[in-house]
Structures are given as C-alpha cells and as structure tokens.
C-alpha cells in the first residue's frame, strides 16, 4: 500500500488561540511575546500583513504598535497547551495514526484513505472538523513523504486559491510546486545550509530534488541526502516502529511533614525539577512537555483537601535546568492555595526527544552558540554535583522575584481555570 502522509498545521497558532475568546479582536493585528515579554514569537495574519517580523524585540516596534493599534499578548502556554491538546484529540479521532510533531502540527497517516474518499476531500473534512470543534484554523498538506507533506502545507498556507488543502501525491504537481518553492522552505534545510546551497546555485526545492545526492552528502550530511530522496517521493522517515527511548521522567516525593507556605513548596518543586532535568541530561534527552502536581493527604479526611496539576508544552524541547525551573515555578504559583497542608508534590518531564529530531526554532531567543554555552554550563553543573557534596543549584534562594516572569499582557486561562472562564452576556 502506498504511504501517504498529511501534515496538519494550525494557522498562526498562538495568535489564533488568543483571538478565540476575543471576538473584539477578530480583525485586529495581534502579536504574542516571548517569555518576559521580550520579542515577537507569533503574529496574526493582520500583524504579518503590517510587516511585523518574527523575533523582533518589542521595543523596536513601539511606534508601529501604537500607529496600527496592534494588540499585545504575553505567552499563555496554559491556554495554548489546552487548545493544542484539543486539536490533537480531534485529529486522533479522524486518522488511524497521528504523530504529534509540535504544539501546533501533527502528521497523519492517510495510507489507504484514497480508496474510500479522494485525499483532497479528506483534507477538507479534517480542516473543517478541526475548526468546527476547536475554533482554530488549520492547513493540510498531503504527500507521499513527510518532507513533501511539509511543502504541501507551505503551499496550502501561501496560496489562497488552495483553500487550505494541497494534495501533492501527483509527481507532476510536486515538481511544479518545488520549482516555485525557495530552497529554504524545504523541511530540514536551515539558514546555514540554504545559504551554502544558494551559493551553489541550488535556489529552489526542485533544484535540490534534482541535485546529486552523493555529492551533497559529502559536502553536507546524510540528513540532506535523505531530504533529497524525500523530495523525490521516497519516504525515508517512516512511522517510528523502533523501541522508543524513555518517554517520561518523574520526580516526586511525599513530604515528612505537611508543607504549607508557598516558598517551601516552591523550593521542593524546584529541587524535583532540577533532579529530573539532571536525569534528562544523563539520558541525552530533551523534554518537550513538563508537568507539576501537588496534593494534600487524602487520608486525612478531616482536613481540607486540595490538589492540582498543570502542564506546559515548550516551544523548543530543552534540557536546560534554568528553563525548566522557571517554567515549573510559573505553573506552580497560580495553582497554590494557602491554608492547606501539602503532603506530596512532583514534576514530570515528558515528550522526550533526542537532539537529532528537534525541530529548529528559528525564532528561539538563544542563538545556536548561546545554546552551546548553556549546554556547557549545565555539564559543568552536573560535574560539580557529581564530585562534591556542595551542590550547585538554581538560584532559587535569590527569591521568587528573580524568577517571576514578566507577563504584563497575559490573557486569562480561559479553558483551564474556573475563575477565568470567558463571560457571556
């Protein structure tokens, strides 16, 4: 049976999430800011049309913001995570196999579907049902390989006439689109590689597809060779049938005596987060999702009971303790309620991946060499902790203020907090 992949990708995901419960912003340009409200990590269609660039520091565009009435949002990962889960659950009901690729995109296995319904029609069904159920618009790209499905999705987003669905199973169509697509739009071709390729005259996806794989493997890597074969319709990245590496790392503990104050709970959770991240680095893995939970002693029925948990999906999977500690604290704080004795807490890291399959995030804050420095810092920290009794740890002692993220434009947790539900009149 012919393998067929579909890539379903949400349109302007974060901005669409923010607009879902804000009909007043329906046609307003909206941007979402990175942690600490530093720079732009997502733009609505209208903001893109105004020429607001991805990754630009927000203080560089103050005048545009004022001039065009652009609406700012802090990153609300609680909201995006919940809506992402809804999109993925919806997709799982539609296709026999779903590979969640990132917070806003998933590969579906559509092999055999065309015997029942034309692929393009099926793509439209998927698109319509996702928007009906979740309110989030998506585009669908269909092709015999993942790399081509990505390219089909790019076309579905770029060309309005496609109405958001492109079936690229036909070889002729593949070549027509590849001739139009710049080489840096090809999945797996980063900025560095695309600059080199362009210098060699390989400017379009088609030129890359027609290049000699052996020559390019020598000059670049086996990964690029695989990309070339995928562009030619040979699926090289199959559904993962190999045994998966460890899927999650959990660190939790029951407390000797009930923990009451927030700073104490924070300290415990930070410790769990650090330990879990240490294990993560030991396994050479990166976490894509993290979860925090805590609860009172449910056996002590005479005491007031409270438990809660929250999780967040990271844009870029990480093994940096600082990032994880910061995220864990920002999840914990809004859930904490005074007046309870907490008996247990924990941190779980999941969606673990190896570096090799991490999607490069071109608007990530740290540049690749900063990332390298972070990795070195972490390995020095691990080394010291292995050798000596003196533990080097996150500067939790610096007090909560040091970790408190700036979130001046945070929208409500519309879908995950009873007190923050959207209001209807």
């Amino acid at each position: 049976m012919k393998t067929v992949f579909a890539l379903v990708d949400c349109n302007n995901f974060y901005a669409s999430c923010e607009k879902l419960f804000r009909p007043d912003l329906r046609d307003t340009p909206v941007i979402v800011l990175s942690n600490n409200d530093g720079c732009v990590v997502a733009r609505s269609r209208e903001a893109k049309a105004l020429g607001i660039k991805m990754g630009v520091p927000v203080h560089h565009i103050r005048s545009e913001i004022r001039l065009h009435g652009i609406h700012l949002f802090s990153s609300n990962y609680t909201l995006y995570g919940d809506l992402s889960r809804r999109v993925m659950t919806t997709l799982e009901a539609l296709a026999p196999r779903v590979d969640v690729y990132s917070i806003d995109e998933a590969f579906l296995d559509l092999s055999g579907v065309e015997r029942v319904v034309p692929l393009r029609d099926f793509g439209h069904q998927v698109k319509d049902i996702v928007v009906q159920n979740t309110g989030l618009p998506v585009c669908v790209g269909i092709a015999p390989t993942r790399t081509l499905a990505k390219l089909a999705n790019y076309a579905a987003k770029k060309y309005r006439a496609t109405e958001g669905v492109v079936d690229l199973t036909d070889t002729g169509r593949q070549r027509r689109l590849m001739a139009l697509a710049p080489v840096d739009e090809v999945w797996g071709v980063g900025r560095k590689i695309s600059a080199k390729l362009q210098a060699m005259g390989i400017t379009t996806a088609l030129k890359l597809a027609d290049a000699d794989p052996a020559t390019l493997r020598k000059q670049f890597s086996v990964i690029l060779e695989r990309t070339i074969r995928e562009l030619n319709g040979i699926a090289c990245i199959p559904w993962e049938d190999a045994p998966q590496p460890k899927k999650q790392i959990m660190c939790s503990r029951s407390f000797g005596s009930p923990v009451k104050a927030l700073p104490d709970l924070e300290e415990a959770v930070v410790q769990f987060a650090s330990r879990a991240t240490e294990k993560l680095r030991k396994g050479g893995q990166y976490a894509g999702t993290l979860m925090v939970f805590f609860r009172t002693n449910s056996f002590r029925t005479e005491l007031p009971q409270y438990s809660n948990s929250a999780s967040v999906g990271l844009i870029t999977p990480t093994q940096d303790s600082r990032v994880i500690v910061q995220q864990v604290l920002s999840l914990l704080r809004p859930m904490y309620r005074p007046g309870y004795g907490y008996a247990k807490a924990g941190v779980m890291l999941s969606d673990l991946v190896n570096k090799a399959i991490i999607q490069e995030d071109f608007f990530a804050n740290p540049s690749p060499d900063q990332d390298d420095r972070a990795a070195r810092l972490m390995s020095v920290m691990d080394e010291i902790n292995r050798r000596s009794r003196t533990k080097v740890c996150s500067a939790r002692q610096a007090g909560p203020a040091a970790y408190a993220m700036r979130k001046e434009h945070l929208s409500p947790a519309y879908t995950t907090d009873w007190r923050q539900l959207p209001g209807v009149t």
């Binding site: 009909p23 007043d24 159920n133 309110g135 009149t425």
Partner: protein, 147 residues
C-alpha cells in the same frame, strides 16, 4: 532436638507492613463489592465531545426565562451544528452572548428569554459567528442566602 541457625538476628530485615488508613471491614466481605462496576461521572452526563467542549460563565439576566441565571456555568459543545431553537453562544459585534437561535422566519434572530430584553435581528452587514451550542447549565446553589 536439633537447632538450625537461621541467621544473625541483627541482620534481619525489618518488614514494613503498609498501614491502610482506609477502613477495612472485618469479617464478611461486603456482598455488594462485586457489583460495583463503576461510579457515576458528571462529565459523562454533560459532555459528549470533550475536545470540543468549553465552559463559559453567564453575566446578565437575558436568559432567565429558560433557567440560565447570572454566574451560571454553561457547557458549550462546538462540535454541534446550531439549529433553530438551540441555545447558542455567539459572538456578535465583538461580544460573546448567549441567546436562543431563531432561523425562521427570516431574518436570523437571537432571542433573549427575558421580556425586559429586545430580540436581536441579524441584518445585512452584521457579523454573527456561532461559537457553540449550549448543552447544559451548571449552577451552584448558594446556601444560607436570604432573598
């Protein structure tokens, strides 16, 4: 009589017997135990499509005629296609509103269920988007409140 040395007393492991804090019934096991298949879950009653279900909170009194009061939580199912007579959440002129949907006779109308409120007729040029269909109302009864 012979003796066998079992081991040095000090090296014996201490067995940790878990202490069950739940009440354990002594004597006969409960005859009902085998018949408990599952418990009732309110979600099951109120939610058919979890991924498409959202909650909203009511402000205002435009729907008190159908038993929707201020502060009530409404269960909204987006996967349902709104039909004539459904209670829907709609975004109209930049606001989320809960009303009864009337499709006939034209024009489309959002009907409040409180005589103090006016029906909203959707005229040309007005933007109406259906957010979802209200399937249930959750109301907590405040105790000890004297009206």
């Amino acid at each position: 009589m012979s003796c066998i040395l079992l081991g040095d007393a000090q090296t014996f492991l201490r067995l940790r017997i878990p202490l069950f804090l739940e009440r354990v019934s002594a004597g006969f096991p409960s005859p009902a135990e085998d018949y408990i298949e599952k418990t009732l879950d309110l979600n099951e009653l109120c939610i058919q499509h979890p991924a498409a279900t959202f909650f909203v909170r009511v402000q205002g009194e435009s729907m008190i005629g159908v038993g929707i009061f201020p502060d009530d939580v409404l269960v909204v199912d987006r996967s349902l296609r709104a039909q004539h007579g459904d209670i829907i959440i709609a975004s109209l002129e930049s606001e989320m509103t809960v009303k009864e949907l009337h499709l006939t006779p034209p024009p489309v109308c959002l009907l409040p269920r409180n005589p103090a409120y006016q029906p909203i007729f959707i005229e040309d040029g007005m933007v109406l988007e259906v957010f979802g269909v209200v399937t249930n109302v959750v109301r907590s009864l405040k105790r000890g409140r004297k009206s």
